[in-house]
Symmetry: C2
């Protein structure tokens, strides 16, 4: 392994380790001569500073961690990409961790990051387990440790943590309005897990949009999934067997949409003419589908940037102003006249 330390460099350059350190960290005054010698020696020996030791002294690591809830969800990998780019520009490394929609894995990652003393944490929080109405012990630890943390996408309402989130109210209002105009009366909702704040927000906004459009809410038209593809498939089958025969459906995220659309394709359902579909999160696959799927989405790159900026201000000791992004509704050919209306 790499055993070349700053002492070796100093020795080779014929100076003290203090001088070598000064040169290598570009700090205070150093003579041109020793600068040259030290740099030559460092390059020659292939010196790589030990970040462990460095941050042990300086307590700064120039590293943030981003915990997402599912690496395989394109929504989150897009977010990860955006955060990474922004952090990179600010001179910080990003460690990406995957909670796998699981509180335990979330806490393990957080523990690892805490013990590695990252400068800040960007977290898509897993919700509370079942009964528990208080955040996990690990969350408490982080908070009491004072490590700067910002929630992204999801939030935990019990905690006073700055968060960057999105509001789908207006987009859903517009979407439902469009469906109503097309003659749809029974609109189903394939939702996410109640422990995720985004799932709750979308569900609430869906109900509110029905009301504001003069339609009735009906919890029998709500299917509770878990944001993963398999539950989307279940939801699709549930819809096909539904007594009210919904003619339109809104799906809470992209993996569920993909799962559902696969089932409908296998069942020979024609999306559009037979069933109008709107999905949350605009990922490439939604545009590949025939017909292309109408979406409700927001600017993930902007959200990623905002998250890093907010975290930076927390790290600097100031309170970031809360920011809420507004989701956009995009109509596409997956929306069509409701079958009854067309037949009439």
């Amino acid at each position: 392994m790499n055993a070349v330390t700053i002492k070796d460099v100093a020795l080779a350059a014929g100076v003290s380790s203090a001088t070598a350190s000064r040169v290598l960290s570009g700090h205070s005054a150093t003579s041109a001569e020793s600068r040259e010698k030290v740099e030559a020696a460092a390059k020659n020996l292939g010196f790589v500073p030990n970040a462990q030791a460095r941050s042990l002294r300086s307590t700064k690591t120039d590293t943030i961690a981003l915990l997402i809830s599912d690496v395989r969800n394109p929504y989150f990998s897009d977010l990860a990409h955006a955060v990474e780019q922004q952090a990179h520009e600010a001179g910080m490394m990003t460690f990406i961790g995957n909670a796998n929609e699981d509180t335990q894995q979330q806490d393990q990652f957080l523990a690892a990051m805490l013990s590695r003393r990252v400068d800040g944490l960007l977290v898509v929080p897993q919700g509370l387990d079942e009964d528990a109405d208080h955040p996990s012990e690990m969350m408490q630890r982080i908070i009491s440790s004072g490590t700067p943390m910002v929630f992204v996408d999801r939030t935990l309402p019990q905690l006073e943590i700055p968060s960057i989130s999105a509001s789908s109210a207006s987009a859903l209002d517009e979407a439902i309005g469009k469906l109503k105009a097309l003659g749809h009366r029974h609109i189903a909702f394939l939702g996410g897990p109640a422990h995720a704040s985004t799932a709750r927000e979308r569900h609430r906004a869906f109900d509110a949009a029905l009301v504001s459009n003069g339609l009735e809410t009906d919890q029998k038209l709500h299917f509770a999934g878990d944001f993963q593809a398999a539950s989307g498939a279940q939801g699709a089958r549930w819809l096909l067997a539904h007594e009210l025969r919904p003619t339109a459906v809104i799906i809470a995220d992209a993996p569920m949409a993909i799962g559902a659309l696969t089932v409908w394709r296998e069942a020979g359902i024609q999306v559009g003419p037979e069933l109008s579909v709107i999905a949350f999160d605009e990922v490439d696959a939604m545009l590949m589908h025939h017909p292309p799927i109408a979406t409700i989405s927001h600017d993930l790159r902007a959200m990623g940037r905002a998250a890093v900026t907010a975290l930076q201000s927390v790290m600097a000791g100031s309170e970031p102003e809360p920011q809420e992004f507004i989701s956009q509704f995009t109509a596409r050919a997956s929306l069509a006249q409701a079958p009854e209306a067309a037949g009439a």
Copy 2:
């Protein structure tokens, strides 16, 4: 910030820091009494061990890094997930980094990992830039630093680094055989960037499969993309304008396939009857497409596991046996009789 150290715990427990350390790291013999006291104090104070300091002393970090070339490619996020799970079972953390198909970003991540003294590196290497026929300086550094490293998926043939890869020869042979039986004569190939070993392997195997099936190879039927969606879209347009009017196409990865299929949908091309399509990498979206897309894929979870195992044996000082996974061809409804043959 968290300032509670092992000394504080020791003080509160009324023992020495050495004893506290022994208890907390579960090492050598400790009396039940002090164990109890220390554990209580640690929990009470919310003690989180400082991994920096620990690994400064022990030179072990129980951390590996995985560098993938594109977080947003579901193929790699699946791989990341598999690696993470396996490493987790072995008691190691995984830092995931994203090279973004860019040599510079790759090197930055590698430098950060090197200075953080990770125990080992799992790398999907970016190929050589254009002219350069030697690996990047950073790669050289890593090698001379002796940090255990294993290549996954892709490899750099110039370097003697253990690698876990896949062979698509037999799957492509089978696929081409199937296409030939369906009457296809002009088969196009939307390939990846030549700097990626997987792209070269797939291209070579494609040519070889044509030959072994008694068809002619024709470089005019090869489109050079870059594994990203936009180049798949370009390839799709290229194919539509092609003088030979290929009736079948094989696409080198999933993002390119999604990009291409989107273009063909917009152009009103019926996949199957008008154009037979086979895509590398089996991701959910391929099964959602109507008709479902035939795929050539391999067991990513197994590859991820194998990669971690190989890395562990390198870390232990032994040479891992090279491992090659065999890709599987799965025929689906995206394959149909060639139009000419059907029309005749």
